[in-house]
């Protein structure tokens, strides 16, 4: 058997995670032993108060991510349908908006919302600014996913439904969207990974979410490396679970139905 054939043969998932875990723990032990990672700061994590403090941060992360997700899902369908739009005047402006937002760094959007809204006389807390900024960005990406999903349904189905007398709205709701949803699911879950990771950017506009509370913690205890590592592990547990879910959803579908959205790192990840 060639090496390639060995690589192709699936190693069982649990075994793979186990090996990866052993490698990771071994790496940390090695780095601590070599003196690159300090050994003393870990003691703080035996104190439940440390974890309670991080849990408060995690709750803020979940709140920002949750609100942004729900709002983005709600906005993405009208954005996408408006962009596909049958001769509506909104088509071009919506396309420009979606493409423009997707090509802009999330952090730049957060800054503009955070510093811009007060100029319009609307005071925002950091949390609100993060929710709005992340919604603006994520809704544009989800709109592209919805658009790709809707356009992937054969035209004949729409024509058949329309000629049976169904209105455009009913055709979308009863015929196109139900089929598109299962095609969109893996891409939406992948984008959720990006969203969870991007909530960390809120700490830059002074929000005490997970990273923000971590910074407070390590400035107090003086153990930045250990704290950042623990925080990274918390994100990892959330995002890795989501990526497994996305892969599982993807595996159920034929490869030709894979939706492609440009310029998002977590969308590129192939399901090999």
């Amino acid at each position: 058997m060639t090496a390639l054939a060995m690589a192709r043969r699936e190693t069982p998932g649990i075994l793979r995670v186990l090996i990866a875990g052993v490698v990771l723990v071994g790496l940390i032990v090695l780095l601590v032993g070599a003196g690159v990672l300090p050994a003393r700061g870990w003691g703080r994590f035996t104190d439940p108060a440390t974890w309670r403090f991080l849990a408060q941060g995690l709750a803020v992360t979940a709140l920002i991510g949750g609100v942004a997700l729900v709002a983005s899902l709600a906005l993405s369908v009208p954005l996408a349908l408006g962009r596909i739009g049958l001769g509506t005047p909104l088509r071009v402006p919506l396309a420009l908006w979606i493409e423009g937002v997707r090509a802009t760094p999330v952090l730049a959007i957060l800054f503009i919302v955070f510093f811009g809204f007060p100029r319009l006389g609307v005071g925002l807390t950091g949390i609100q600014a993060a929710m709005i900024g992340l919604t603006v960005y994520t809704s544009a990406v989800l709109a592209e996913i919805v658009r790709a999903g809707v356009l992937s349904i054969p035209k004949g189905e729409v024509e058949a439904a329309r000629s049976l007398g169904l209105s455009y709205a009913v055709t979308m709701r009863r015929v196109v969207l139900p089929q598109a949803v299962s095609r969109m699911a893996p891409a939406i879950v992948s984008q959720l990974i990006t969203l969870v990771k991007d909530t960390s950017l809120a700490s830059i506009i002074a929000v005490q979410e997970l990273v923000g509370s971590g910074r407070v913690l390590f400035n107090f205890y003086g153990n930045p490396i250990e704290t950042l590592f623990v925080i990274a592990c918390i994100y990892f547990v959330i995002c890795y679970s989501l990526s497994r879910l996305s892969r599982r959803l993807e595996a159920r579908r034929p490869a030709v139905e894979r939706l492609v959205v440009i310029g998002e790192e977590d969308q590129v990840a192939p399901a090999v």
Binding site: A7, A103, P105, R119, I231, Y235, S243
Partner: protein, 215 residues
């Protein structure tokens, strides 16, 4: 427009840093990607799992946390590592993007039918020749469009470098913005980002269509 015109040199400096950071990180990420993907495919079980651990860990944690980590790690003067935030950001962005590049290249290698390398080997080509003449040229096609996508994502991600004090485009824009109490510099920064990402998106879309037809 005044605050932009008055600080044009400063902003252009930030723009240049963003361009350099993106290009440098993409080059390093490609090198990391080719190396780790080879280990994942030909490195046996342990190599494959170690490569997989790298990919999954760095893809599934926020870039911001990774950059903070390097900033702290590089800080002690006795290690003799660079404390220039741009260099720290370059390392962080390369390692982060490298994880994605690894998966793209690995799937590129695996996309070439195994029987092709078997045929090449039985025709008398060496392992290296098979790789260079048969597998890689075909893998190249699969790999180009997703790499274009990653480069767009990378340009956007360079903005996170401002959080560790790298004077790139967004940082330059927000400094001018807070100094002049105006929003125009930030709007200008967005336009500047679009001037990089939109051409890249058009190029990627173009390559994707061309390479699809070429198959």
């Amino acid at each position: 427009m005044d605050p932009i015109v008055a600080n044009l040199d400063f902003l252009i400096g930030g723009y240049a840093t963003t361009l350099k950071l993106s290009a440098g990180a993409m080059a390093l990420a490609l090198a990391i990607g080719v190396l780790v993907a080879s280990v994942r495919v030909w490195g046996g079980r342990i190599g494959s799992a170690a490569g997989g651990a790298y990919v999954e860990f760095f893809r599934n944690t926020p870039l911001l946390v990774q950059l903070f980590f390097y900033a702290v790690l590089f800080a002690p003067a006795n290690l003799g590592l660079s404390r220039d935030p741009v260099v720290v950001a370059l390392v962080g962005l390369s390692v982060y993007t490298g994880a994605y590049v690894t998966e793209v290249i690995r799937s590129g290698i695996l996309s070439v039918d195994q029987r092709q390398s078997e045929a090449a080997r039985s025709l008398g080509l060496s392992q290296v020749q098979t790789l260079r003449r048969v597998v890689l040229p075909q893998a190249f096609r699969t790999v180009i469009p997703p790499l274009g996508n990653l480069s767009i994502a990378l340009v956007k991600n360079t903005a996170v470098a401002s959080a560790i004090g790298a004077l790139e485009l967004l940082q330059a824009g927000s400094i001018v913005s807070s100094r002049t109490f105006r929003l125009e510099p930030l709007a200008g920064v967005v336009v500047a980002y679009l001037s990089i990402t939109i051409p890249l998106a058009i190029l990627t879309g173009h390559l994707e269509r061309r390479l699809r037809f070429a198959r």
